[in-house]
């Protein structure tokens, strides 16, 4: 997660999360760090003394050693397998063992709070950080094998960070996430599907390492169980929150959700749109709010493909504005169904849309129109329409002409075979 940092869900600029909420949480963590630094330093000194006493053989019985460890300064503000309560479990989220520990968690907290505030208010985000983090730390404390030192403090904000990641995973599961990969330019960002890549990047390694932590002599000092516990807690909290909110699965951002619940349904009812027009109007309104929402676009594409004659040319033109090159490239099957439906019903494809499409995207869609002879007629019409839209571009016109010539020599042979 440090190498590929999730910076935001793939949403329009005006939906992108701001830094304000992250800065507030970062300030809280920094303040806690400096306030508790004397306790952390005292604890380090205490443990150094423990090692000295232990090497000198001054602990006659195991019991006296346990009594000594139970009094370590950090356990007044954090929890351990043998010494925990709810208040200290909550407080443990704000305690860090050193500046490196704090710095790494700050990156996670800033990223996690920022991306979650695209969907839920700051109060909910902070509550999930706190509750999920506490549950993650408690999970680790209770599940860690007793063979490990019972007075090792479990602390840090990372369980809370993973709780935020779990929440984000649920809310943005069906959409894409923009990642920053430390390349200092515009190319330093990519968008990848949250469902599989986010899981790979954030949690897969933690699952592997937490399994090892259940055995004695864990490989590193990182609390992977708390990470996994926090992530699961965050997922569960998000599922519960979405159920309470009755959040439709096709909506991505909070803006869309608020518009849907507050204005849209009432407006559609009052306007008295029929069963064909109402979804069109509804999805177009939502796409105006979030034109990155591919699920809405797919619904719109399928709806237009199902009713190719029910919409005017102007309505088709407005709808096609949302089907950009990236969407078309990733959804060639749906787009080809729509194009097939329109061409077969002698509806014109919007020239504005054809003019925007890159040539390689058109070829990708064309591959879906090669199944049957009827499809290939659609293919010819489609490429002819594309050529008309780019008639002023001589270079492209030449390429399209070559393609048409190749296809036209193939298709008439098949027609003759059928008729003969």
């Amino acid at each position: 997660m440090i190498l590929l940092v999730p910076t935001s869900p793939e949403v329009p600029r005006f939906h992108r999360p701001t830094w304000g909420a992250s800065i507030v949480v970062a300030i809280i963590l920094l303040t806690s760090y400096f306030l508790l630094k004397p306790t952390v330093l005292a604890d380090q000194q205490y443990i150094d003394n423990y090692h000295t006493l232990s090497e000198a053989g001054l602990f006659e019985e195991n019991e006296s050693e346990q009594v000594y460890l139970a009094r370590r300064p950090l356990l007044s503000v954090t929890i351990s397998p043998k010494s925990w309560d709810l208040e200290r479990a909550i407080f443990s989220n704000f305690v860090h063992g050193g500046f490196t520990h704090l710095a790494l968690n700050l990156i996670g907290v800033v990223a996690g709070v920022r991306i979650c505030t695209t969907f839920i208010p700051f109060a909910c985000t902070f509550s999930i950080f706190l509750i999920g983090g506490t549950l993650g730390l408690l999970f680790s404390t209770l599940v860690s094998p007793q063979l490990q030192n019972e007075f090792v403090p479990h602390l840090g904000a990372s369980a809370g960070v993973f709780a935020l990641m779990g929440t984000y995973y649920i809310y943005n599961f069906r959409f894409r996430t923009t990642y920053f990969f430390w390349f200092p330019s515009r190319q330093g960002r990519i968008a990848l599907k949250t469902s599989w890549f986010f899981f790979l990047d954030v949690i897969l390694l933690e699952l592997l390492l937490s399994a090892g932590q259940l055995l004695p002599k864990s490989i590193d000092g990182v609390d992977h169980l708390a990470h996994v516990g926090g992530f699961l807690a965050g997922c569960i909290l998000a599922v519960v929150l979405r159920s309470i909110q009755k959040w439709p699965s096709i909506l991505q951002t909070r803006g869309e959700f608020l518009y849907w619940t507050t204005f849209l349904q009432g407006r559609l009812r009052e306007a008295g749109y029929d069963r064909v027009q109402a979804p069109y109007v509804g999805w177009m309104e939502l796409l105006r709010i979030n034109f990155f929402n591919d699920l809405l676009k797919t619904r719109l594409v399928n709806h237009l493909a199902k009713h190719p004659t029910r919409f005017t040319d102007e309505e088709l033109k407005l709808a096609f504005r949302y089907f950009g090159p990236t969407y078309v490239r990733l959804n060639t099957l749906d787009m080809s169904s729509l194009i097939r439906g329109l061409v077969k019903n002698q509806r014109a494809l919007p020239e504005e849309w054809l003019g925007r499409m890159p040539y390689d995207t058109i070829i990708r869609v064309s591959h879906q129109l090669t199944q049957t002879i009827e499809d290939q007629e659609v293919l010819l019409e489609f490429i002819l329409a594309y050529r008309r839209a780019h008639s002023s571009n001589k270079k492209l016109d030449r390429k399209v002409e070559n393609l048409l010539r190749r296809i036209q020599t193939l298709i008439p042979d098949q027609k003759r075979a059928l008729n003969g």
Binding site: L4, I190, L205, I373, N402, L410, G420
Partner: protein
Amino acid sequence: MGKEAQTKSPDRHEVRNALWEAEREHWLDCQNAPLSTRLASSVLDIIFVYLVSHGFTKLVRQLVVHGPRLAPDHQNLFDPQIWTVIDLAIRISFLVLYLTWSVSFFGGTLGKLLLGLRVIDCQTGHPLTYRASLFRGIASVGMNVLVLFTLFIRPDRRGLHDLFSNSVVKKVRGTK
């Protein structure tokens, strides 16, 4: 009696081939990838390769540390030296496959594909054959190795890049 309309065209492969050819011609016409995008794709590739290698190494380490405890009757299966060699072999194989096979099969590594780049034959526009892709990978690594090699073997410690640029690196602090 004429044939019934077939649901599948017998020559759809030819139409598809025509489309593929058109795509190749188009790629030949596209601009060469800018340096910044190529560097960005390399950074992404390094990250992906690291994530997979690192994950696999962690898995092997878990196995070697905890395996004997979980299966005490089969301790000989968890020899650390053998697993180190297996780990290294798998990671090198993965690296070779990632840098060569993916270029010939998909037209680029994952980093390149994500940033809209393709590695193609500059005459035909076709993806590279596996052999060409392997040679490309070896040449890329080889150049870096050559620089280091000359650095080691030359008594004056000047690498290939130093020789080309007529330069030398000196240690100027702590010498009398």
